[in-house]
Symmetry: C2
DNA sequence: ACAATAAAAGACAAAAATATCTTTTATTAT
DNA sequence: ATAATAAAAGATATTTTTGTCTTTTATTGT
């Protein structure tokens, strides 16, 4: 099992792609994005529709249309994308899937995994959508298989 | 998304259950285990068959039969259960699902997630199957929803 | 207005994960 | 030997995730 669902992997990669491609204005089409991150175009379209509905990215139809990210939203934490797609169980859920797991009724792994979840949460809360833009423009980071 | 698959959650809970129930000899039946960890009995049976084939737990058929764990195996790290069920992508895989992600061709999250994966791996490698036995016997830890 | 473009929406399909049912095999006790 | 027990094995069913296809809607340029 991976940390994120496949849907979420595509979502994050797409958001990074859109962010750095439209940081200085303009829009980027679904074909371009799908190629840029190596993902199935029509499936990705569904994912982006969802993120768009939730206001995490923006889009316009028609010629010169496409997806983009409002400059102000480049400061949003990546955790919002993850939460929108995969929910918050990665941040708050019990590792062993116990609904009632808590400090007062812990599973054997409760304390250790709480620490790990907190680290993941902190990382994704302090990482922003736009912070890799310059490295992505310079080709220092990859978004493709 | 949770950290582990549902199958793996059941597997870990079952292994903890079997470990503490058979630490002093004896065997425990599938019905008992399924009740003890709140899991679907027949599905759990499949999971335990698999762990048994892989030598992580043992079993006997017939009257007085059931599952148990060889005392020597109580020192095995939990990571072996996880790896047997969910594979090792939690320990080594790229957070964004990139096959080619590495130090020399990193995804934007590579370094941060490498640190997290290492923590998870270390935790599961240093946690043993049997180390919660006494707390489980005392009811200090829960394995049920 | 009209044609072209590109995302949105809705329906559908395939694959994987989760769950259940039935039959077989090994073991034990009578 | 036989009956009872309990896991192993194989087949099937359901649900969720992932992926695709088709139609509709909004926007732009002519």
């Amino acid at each position: 099992m991976a940390i994120f669902s496949k849907t979420c992997e595509y979502a994050i990669r797409a958001v990074f792609y859109i962010a750095h491609k439209t940081a200085n204005g303009g829009r980027v089409g679904i074909k371009d994005i799908a190629t840029g991150i190596d993902s199935p175009e029509l499936y990705l379209a569904k994912i982006l529709q969802d993120l768009s509905r939730k206001g995490l990215i923006s889009s316009f139809k028609g010629p010169n249309g496409g997806f983009f990210i409002e400059p102000a939203l480049l400061n949003k934490p990546l955790s919002e994308i993850v939460e929108a797609v995969d929910g918050d169980s990665l941040f708050y859920g019990c590792a062993l899937g116990l609904k009632q797991c808590s400090e007062i009724n812990p599973c054997p792994l409760h304390n250790d995994f709480k620490a790990i979840r907190d680290k993941i949460h902190l990382l994704l809360s302090t990482t922003t959508i736009g912070e890799f833009n310059s490295e992505l423009m310079n080709g220092l980071f990859s978004l493709k298989k």
